[in-house]
């Protein structure tokens, strides 16, 4: 949304535009929060219902945030995800987009009660960086940057969705083992449905992540980057995540493994992904650190 310099460098007109963008961003986040509350109520409340309304609110919030990111990108003629809020918004959008696409092909009752609150929390994590510019300009540009960033975020979103399905699988498995049939148990899908979703989503995430890594390598090569990229902790963490995804795909496609073990590994994969996305910047330096804003978080 915000490129290069901070608010102080902007003209008065740009300042007014910024205020409008801020309002739209706040409205977008508010929609997500309201959708999350509705979805939670629909999952945990005494009466089901409200899932459709939460879905609609999330779509409205998503459209507002996507519009802002596109406008921001158009203004700086690049991709606008180098601010903590932008990065978090992009991640939340990728997740909600994957969820929306999933519901187009297969309506899965109840999982929105976990996915939408997760997306809302992600957005709230980035809200303190709202309206603040990125610390520095990106040293590499071009179409490969676009391909790298977009596919990486799409992979993040799809794999997070798979991991949430895995987490729900573990919850359902635990309820069935303990013979406790609560309201949440009733409203969430069957183990087999979740297993099938996990399997397909992990495959898609692996494909997208592979494209993102390849695009990243091409980008570095095209921009004449050196070894610092290949020894970068973020690149290492990404490769580790990719290997984990490859193991998961292998377990599904070649060995035909199912069940609790695979679900546990998928949830572990989310931890790995979050470390690649956020954690690596908190504990180590990275060439990707040009994205850091106010001690904040990076892009992919």
């Amino acid at each position: 949304m915000l490129c290069g310099g901070g608010i102080g460098l902007r003209s008065h007109r740009e300042g007014r535009k910024l205020r409008i963008e801020l309002i739209v961003a706040v409205v977008g986040v508010a929609c997500y929060v309201a959708a999350a509350l509705l979805a939670l109520f629909s999952l945990l409340g005494s009466r089901p219902g409200g899932e459709r309304a939460s879905f609609g609110l999330m779509a409205v919030g998503g459209a507002a945030l996507a519009g802002l990111l596109v406008l921001g990108g158009a203004r700086c003629a690049s991709i606008s995800v180098f601010n903590r809020f932008d990065a978090m918004a992009c991640y939340a959008l990728a997740l909600s987009g994957a969820y929306l696409l999933l519901t187009l092909f297969r309506y899965t009752r109840g999982i929105g009660g976990i996915i939408i609150p997760y997306a809302a929390i992600i957005l709230l994590c980035g809200i303190s960086a709202l309206g603040k510019g990125a610390a520095a300009t990106v040293p590499v540009q071009g179409p490969w940057l676009m391909a790298h960033v977009l596919t990486a975020y799409a992979a993040y979103g799809v794999f997070t969705l798979a991991s949430i399905c895995a987490a729900i699988y573990l919850m359902q498995d635990s309820s069935l083992k303990r013979k406790r049939c609560g309201v949440v148990w009733e409203r969430l899908p069957s183990l087999e449905t979740l297993d099938q979703l996990m399997s397909r989503l992990v495959g898609l995430a692996f494909l997208l992540f592979s494209v993102a890594i390849i695009a990243g390598f091409i980008l570095v090569h095209a921009s004449g980057g050196g070894d610092e990229w290949f020894t970068d902790p973020k690149v290492g963490a990404s490769v580790a995540t990719w290997i984990l995804l490859a193991v998961l795909v292998h377990m599904r496609a070649s060995v035909d493994r199912h069940g609790r073990g695979v679900a546990l590994l998928t949830v572990t994969g989310l931890a790995c992904l979050l470390f690649t996305f956020v954690g690596v910047h908190l504990i180590a330096g990275s060439v990707h650190a040009y994205l850091r804003v106010f001690g904040g978080l990076p892009g992919p």
Partner: protein
Amino acid sequence: MTAAVVGLSFRTAPIELREQAAFRADEAPVALQRIGAAFPGAELVLVSTCNRTELYLSGIDVDANKGRLVSLLLKTPAGVAPADAEPHFYVKRDLEAVEHLISVAASLDAMVVGETEILGQVKQALLLAEQTGTTGKVLHPLFQQAFKTAKRVHSETDICRGRVSVSSLAVEFAEKVFDNLGAKTVMLVGAGETAELALKSLMDRGARDVLVLNRSAERGQALADRCGGRAIQFDLLDDYLPRADIVISSTSAPHFVIHAAAVQRAVAIRRGRPMLLVDIAVPRDIDPAVGQIKDVYLYYIDDLHRIAVSNLAKRQTAVEQAWKIVREGVAEAAAMFEGPGLRLLLRKFDEHGREVCETALQRALAREKLAALPEPCREEIRALAQKIVGKMLAQPREAVKRAARNGELENYTRVVNDLFGFDTKAAGAVKMETGPAAPEPADGRKGSNT
């Protein structure tokens, strides 16, 4: 309103008598036609389930004809004398009958509160009556109101939440583990009655591939033939276990029949695909260690009973709330039927008010002092007088509307006739309009306005 119900249920009659009055789907049309022939022109709906047989009717003096109706409702009068059976039959009239119908449709009067099958059975009964041509302007809207209220009860309360029978719980767990029961293999170990019921429930939800293993090959084959499955030699249990997604066990063996090692092997072969095992045998057939194996879900009969009791308790807590909705439904039905009478009575109020107002105004304005008043002033006075009369009649009008909602319009109509001196003949017409024209019964006796 002229609706009533005569019938018996598990609350009033033993099973031997209920059997005499139970009509199968193919018998019900014949029974309905027989009763219809005895009471031509009457509206009739026959609801017959394993727990009740009820005849909802309109246009019959149910008090005068109870004996006849009872004998018509008994399939084999030779088996039970109608006079002996009559005390077991109850009769409910008007709003009591409406409340009963709604409580039956909403499954509040069921043996297991909240079982939703009854709503379908009542719908089926109405459909049959429509096909036979024995419904009309009383019973049809009453049943529609009952369906509407029953749906409200089901959706707005917890009355139907959680299954309460072993077989339906087995299905519920199966549907929480598997996506499509049609693609799953069900293994039945032993041929117990409860296991067969559970299998039937699973097959109702789409399960098709059934393996039956029984120590007695003949019984196993017979059961396999009944359910369209395959009979397997009992000794091959461990070999067939990996193929089974759902195992229902109910042998009378005094020892475990399914051991942890066999299940562990099966799970390894299945590569983590889940297995659901339901053991409804006492003593148990499945080693408890099986429950510890990953991706295996084991339920004993006690687990299912515990969940059923807990679900039933939850349903009971919703009963009060459900009755509140039923009472609202009854009030709506009452208002629906009292509608024409109410409209007529309100029209009488308006006419009476206008008449009083106009008479008084004409007399007053004809006097010498007021005769010279210009027309705008006369209009002002007329408007004021109408307003005063309207305000005076507002409270009685509201009270009459309230009475109609509570099903007390008939009593209020009498009082209003007395108080305001409305034409009693016209008020009688009000009463006649509240229900359909009562047909003359076959015996020529005059139908009362029940």
